[in-house]
């Protein structure tokens, strides 16, 4: 960004006052052209990536539609606007229509950060809504009222991340928010680990049982106190049946107590 604020001085030393004015006009028109090109390329690029289909149905896209535009339109317009503002600021600086040390020069340096921040917020909004849709689709078969909380949590977690990135870009002190995020992530990982402890142990044992097949369906086995015919072995449990009773034994218990195969 240092170079942008130095350019005007370089230009002014090279050209006469009239020449400087012409150069600033040239920079302005070049900027307008570049802005248009950026707008068109961004649009094409996003359409080729299938962005319109991906954002279909998210609240952000719906809001954009009701305002007569679309997500792709907003993002490409934003990119073009960014280029226009830079071109105008440079042109103004070269022509010395404003004070070089004034607000505008610092604004130019600040602009890319602002653009990235806005972009991060837009992506965050869309990703959050999309994730919510996907998760609730997955949980459709679960008819518990509590299950509807999960998609909301996912959505707001992503919003939070997006806001954090945006604020970080703008140079706002985000230390407290970061610590909060770390605590949240740790809690999530820790609690999930705790909750899935038994399932993970069963899956690890189940992996061995499935791959090595020390016993298979139809074998008569004794596992712990249970004796019976194996009816099913899956990742987490083994079904053993005897006298019309089906015992469903967690796989880690199978590994811990060992298996006795009964061969008459």
């Amino acid at each position: 960004m240092q170079s942008i604020s130095e350019w005007p001085d370089v230009v002014r030393t090279l050209f006469s006052p009239q020449g400087t004015f012409v150069v600033s006009l040239a920079v302005l028109s070049l900027g307008l052209l570049a802005g248009f090109l950026v707008w068109r390329t961004a649009r094409q690029f996003m359409e080729e990536l299938g962005v319109p289909e991906t954002v279909e149905g998210t609240p952000f896209e719906r809001t954009a539609r009701s305002l007569g535009t679309s997500t792709v339109g907003i993002v490409s317009n934003l990119a073009a606007l960014f280029v226009y503002i830079i071109a105008i600021t440079i042109a103004l600086n070269i022509a010395q229509l404003v004070q070089p040390e004034a607000y505008w020069t610092r604004f130019t340096a600040f602009l890319p950060d602002l653009f990235i921040a806005v972009f991060a917020i837009i992506i965050g909004l869309i990703a959050g809504d999309k994730a919510k849709l996907v998760v609730s689709e997955r949980l459709r078969s679960v008819k518990l009222p509590e299950a509807t909380v999960v998609p909301e949590i996912v959505k707001y977690s992503i919003f939070y991340l997006a806001v954090l990135i945006a604020l970080g870009q703008l140079g706002v002190a985000t230390m407290a928010l970061l610590i909060l995020l770390a605590a949240y992530a740790f809690g999530l990982v820790f609690l999930t680990g705790l909750a899935l402890k038994d399932l993970l142990a069963a899956a690890a044992a189940g992996l061995y049982l499935l791959l090595a097949e020390p016993y298979s369906i139809g074998d008569e086995v004794v596992i712990g106190d249970q004796r019976g015919i194996v009816q099913e072995v899956d990742m987490f449990v083994t079904h053993v049946e005897s006298d019309g009773r089906e015992h469903i034994i967690p796989n880690q218990q199978v590994m811990r107590s060992g298996i006795v195969r009964v061969r008459e």
């Binding site: 791959l211 097949e213 298979s216 369906i217 139809g218 074998d219 015919i229 009816q231 899956d234 079904h239």
Partner: protein, 269 residues
Amino acid sequence: MNELRDLLDGLVADIDAVFLFSPSMSDYEALEESECTVVVVGPENSVDAAEFVELPIDFTDLEGRIRFGIEGALEQELVEEGDEVVCVSGFMTGTANAVARIQTNDFSPSGVYDLFVNSRAEPGVVRDIFEVAVELGKKGQKGKPVGALFVVGDAGKVMSKSRPLSYNPFEKSHVHVGDPIVNVMLKEFSRLDGAFVISDAGKIVSAYRYLEPSAEGVDIPKGLGARHMAGGAITRDTNATAIVLSESDGLVRAFKGGELVLEIDPEEY
């Protein structure tokens, strides 16, 4: 025309329930207002009806469809035995164009609903095997008709009541019915003799199994061969369901509890 309308009025007078087979939303909503029970029967509950019987396979003949719907409703206690019901269904074409009045105890239950819903194996597994058998019956193996015997559910007991004829090609494999590769695999393996054994959850446990149930007193229709006898008998000894594709007449039959419960022609399916 009045006489015809009177005839139709007589047909739908004093009924206890209406059975709608795959109805459109507007038909269902119009009938829902009436005071008698409305039962929807179809492959999926597209109208969100409270009383619903799911059809696991697409019965092409009207009788099979009605039989399944009524047996399902009786099982779920949506209607009672002896109720007069009217069935509205598509006949020949998909739209609702046929009306039939039936008393629920007019026919003896064949257990076809029971076969899909109350089997030991999961309903989806029974349906998948059915589809494989029908497909096999339609195409055969390299154009020649083949026979096949699938024993579904209670695999542990079936395995202990059978012995291998040769090495089990499915040993240490984790193939489940419904995987796309399975149709091809089963088609190839159907040239082997013996039965396929499938577990409750749909895992193919073994091929090449020689079933050794005691066939004493198993009563299956005369004219069916050893494959059907073996299939029928194993279902009496265990809680399994046997689905048999006949090599000679090409029909798919299902046995449960030692009895024939369903017989369909793959060509019509």
